[in-house]
Symmetry: C2
Subunit: 308 residues, 2 copies
């Protein structure tokens, strides 16, 4: 999951119980969008309508659209582009970036300004609104929305194979880290680096984990690095202190770094959908940029099997 730390507000905590009942009735991507549109879904979307694809959302002034498209094309592992506004200003129709996946299969009957449960708004690369319920005021006819793949899809596949990610077993967010691996620059988007998500596995399971996630290229695909030695290569100083998400734990609740000498908990790193948001912020671009609030993804009409 591409989930930033989302500290629940008092309102959120109060509504979680009601939401847990309600989200069980949300079985399709469209169900979830309609619930978000009517502001009746206030918890993160992890595990909601589990067979449907969830997307990172990034909305830019049109003058940056070509460069962002190129950034995704040049960095498809951390920034797998699923689709974008059918035309500048279009918040209801998406054109597909995935060969063989028709536009209509990605998103129909949608309002991208309201259909993610929560949004963030940036102005001149600074966060000015966090977790707002819609972006109807901020959206202009000059904006272009981009949908970027989210690793939720392969987490379902791992779970089906009996390799459930530890963070979901423990009810925690996936840990995410800044790295020193440079993104290939594209136009205004320069100077940024990969963000990675981490799930730990037994050393003997890593090849199977690689195989299972390999087919999910539209949602980050197979890991980019694994093993304790990968930390130095990625420039990760402390595995226990991720930059986003919750710190990783062993099965019995110890810090992951304490498992360094066993083969039971080897860190495995994947490209992460927080990367494009980072790239936008590092670039310092001007104007109003909008995104989903991390953890509160946009649900699509296509299913995980459509893109595997």
């Amino acid at each position: 999951m591409d989930v930033l730390v989302a500290k629940p507000t008092t309102h959120l905590v109060q509504s979680i119980e009601a939401d847990e009942v309600r989200i069980r009735t949300l079985t399709t991507g469209r169900d979830v969008r309609l619930a978000a549109r009517s502001n009746t879904l206030t918890v993160p979307t992890s595990g909601v309508a589990a067979t449907y694809l969830q997307a990172n959302l990034l909305i830019l002034p049109s003058r940056y659209a070509a460069d962002f498209r190129l950034l995704c094309a040049r960095n498809p592992v951390p920034c797998p582009l699923i689709g974008e506004s059918a035309e500048t200003g279009a918040y209801g129709s998406i054109k597909s970036n995935i060969p063989g996946l028709p536009d209509s299969r990605i998103l129909a009957d949608a309002d991208i300004r309201r259909d993610a449960p929560r949004y963030n708004v940036y102005h001149d690369a600074k966060l000015v609104k966090q977790g707002c319920l819609d972006i109807t005021e901020e959206w202009t006819e000059d904006h272009v929305a981009f949908l970027v793949g989210c690793s939720f899809s392969f987490e379902t596949a791992l779970t089906v194979a009996g390799l459930t990610p530890r963070h979901t077993v423990l009810g925690r967010n996936v840990p995410m880290y800044r790295t020193n691996i440079p993104l290939c620059p594209a136009g205004v988007f320069t100077g940024s680096t990969y963000v990675v998500s981490m799930r730990s596995y037994k050393a003997s399971d890593i090849e199977k984990v690689r195989e299972i996630t390999r087919g999910y290229n539209a949602t980050h695909g197979e890991p980019i690095a694994w093993g304790w030695s990968a930390l130095e290569n990625l420039g990760i100083v402390d595995i226990d202190i991720p930059q986003w998400g919750d710190s990783p734990l062993t099965e019995d609740g110890r810090r992951l770094s304490e498992a360094k000498d066993s083969d039971d908990d080897v860190p495995v790193f994947w490209g992460c959908g927080v990367t494009p948001q980072e790239a936008v912020m590092v670039s310092g671009i001007k104007g109003t940029v909008m995104a989903h609030a991390p953890g509160h993804m946009l649900l699509l009409d296509c299913t995980n099997s459509d893109i595997a």
Copy 2:
């Protein structure tokens, strides 16, 4: 150009003069292929039939084809896949990997086993033949050929814009360097890193150089890094000692490192087509792998403008 050090043999030196006359008559990609097929082209193909696309060639046992295809898809900047054998064992027909570019436009009337001027052959990841004239003996019905973009295309565009790469002005090979930037792994292809080519430019020209090369995404596109500080980020220890090609010089023939304090010669780095050969060798895969001899590229039927 994706050119490894190609030390001319005595035979090569003797034939260069005759070749220089002959290559002026080779105006199309097909002309060059036919000359190579009849073994009458023995010099590197840099500058030959300049408007036609040149390709890096990599030929693998079919069991590695899916992983190599994925390696290219995950690393499109250093490994831009133009096309591959229409089916396993096909050395005469190519299917296009470039949207909008028909198969027939890439290569018609070809024999990939004979149409590159010179080849290298590897067995179990070790070089066993260097610069041979054909690979008809080594090719089997189980082999798949891949064509990977070559930066020749954008060098022509730079020259047209008055930004002729220094190495071509000086009649030297482009310098190429190993880096510590990891490739995103794909199946058997793990543990390898980007190879980059370098051309130096005035600091004030770099944005223009970026713009011109940006459109050439099928042949590495815009630079991945620039400036003297990039050396540390890429893990390049000594700019004067490239791992392939000739050492870079200033306009007046000094070592490039001596220009470090001026804005006249700032190193600019691009993804390089040597990367996939490196990745194949680092992976230690078994069986017979073939490639063009670096510098002796396969000429295609499409032109630079077809892919820009």
